[in-house]
């Protein structure tokens, strides 16, 4: 069974839902504590949402120094699939495993609502099994989700097709109205150049059970599990 490690930092909130979503979709969730440098032979790692270390200095700034991040850096360098969701995305940016940063929403208000996102690249563990252009309904809930990067980094992100997801209207069109936080290029998530590390602000783990609402997260996490199985089989 595919083992997916879900890291718990002090202040993580969505680690429970991430584990439950993995279990719901047929994977085996493994609890990883932020002080564990050993990843227990997991096939993939999820850095979940929440407010690690209270987000007091900057989102993700302290979590980056947790011992588990050394193991995750080695795991990522070896090609292991790493997914950062919300605060996890912020941690990946602070760790320089992904380019750019997340700053206060342009509205300066916390945003908590359903959004539609369009899959932009098949080169990531979350999107390998999802057709590019697919529109998925998933929730966002964040105060600091506005993706920014330097002019050079943004050009590189767009040029190398590192954008994994963009906020969009239900019909898939990208415009500022559908952009919940003012992110550059309506970017909701990006991947690294190798394609094994991906981060996104929306929460796929909150959208897998049809009894609880839209299930836009299901194809993404199914893709992650299938991607792990394919890696294990190769």
């Amino acid at each position: 069974m595919t083992k997916v490690g879900v890291v718990t930092f002090p202040g993580s909130l969505d680690d429970g839902d991430a584990r439950e979503a993995i279990r719901f979709l047929g994977g085996e969730p493994v609890r990883l504590w932020h002080k564990d440098a050993d990843l227990q032979d997991v096939d993939a790692v999820i850095l979940p949402g929440g407010f690690s270390f209270g987000d007091y200095l900057r989102t993700g700034a302290i979590a980056r120094f947790s011992p588990v991040m050394q193991g995750i850096r080695r795991f990522a360098e070896a090609g292991g699939p790493v997914v950062g969701i919300c605060n996890g995305f912020q941690i990946l940016c602070e760790s320089h495993l992904l380019p750019g940063a997340l700053i206060r929403n342009r509205s300066l208000r916390f945003v908590c609502r359903w959004v539609d996102i369009r899959v932009e690249s098949p080169v990531s563990p979350l999107t390998a099994g999802v057709k590019t252009g697919t529109v998925l309904r998933v929730p966002v809930k964040h105060g600091e989700g506005q993706f920014v990067a330097s002019v050079e980094d943004l050009a590189r992100i767009e040029g190398a097709e590192l954008v994994a997801f963009r906020y969009c209207a239900p019909d898939g069109s990208v415009d500022e109205v559908a952009n919940p936080n003012g992110s550059a290029g309506s970017i909701a998530g990006i991947r690294n150049e190798r394609g094994n590390v991906v981060g996104l602000m929306p929460h796929p783990e909150h959208a897998v059970d049809p009894d609880l609402g839209p299930v836009g997260g299901e194809p993404l996490l199914v893709s992650l599990l299938e991607h792990c199985m394919a890696r294990a089989g190769s």
């Binding site: 200095l57 900057r58 700034a61 750019g100 940063a101 700053i103 920014v148 990067a149």
Partner: protein
């Protein structure tokens, strides 16, 4: 609110560090490294080290 002449406003963080070091240069070097590696994110922030004051312990 009746305050004329305000053309711009910004809010930032002011962080005070007390450093134990052999001399002022070494202390400033520590502060610079801490500012670069922890206290600021160069993608979105810039920092200035304002002043130092030897306590002469």
């Amino acid at each position: 609110m009746g305050f004329a002449g305000v053309e711009d406003v910004r809010v930032g963080k002011h962080i005070e560090l007390t450093i134990e070091a052999d001399d002022e240069a070494a202390a400033l070097d520590s502060v610079r490294r801490i500012a670069e590696q922890v206290l600021s994110n160069p993608v979105i922030e810039e920092y200035r080290i304002l002043e130092s004051e030897a306590t002469g312990r």
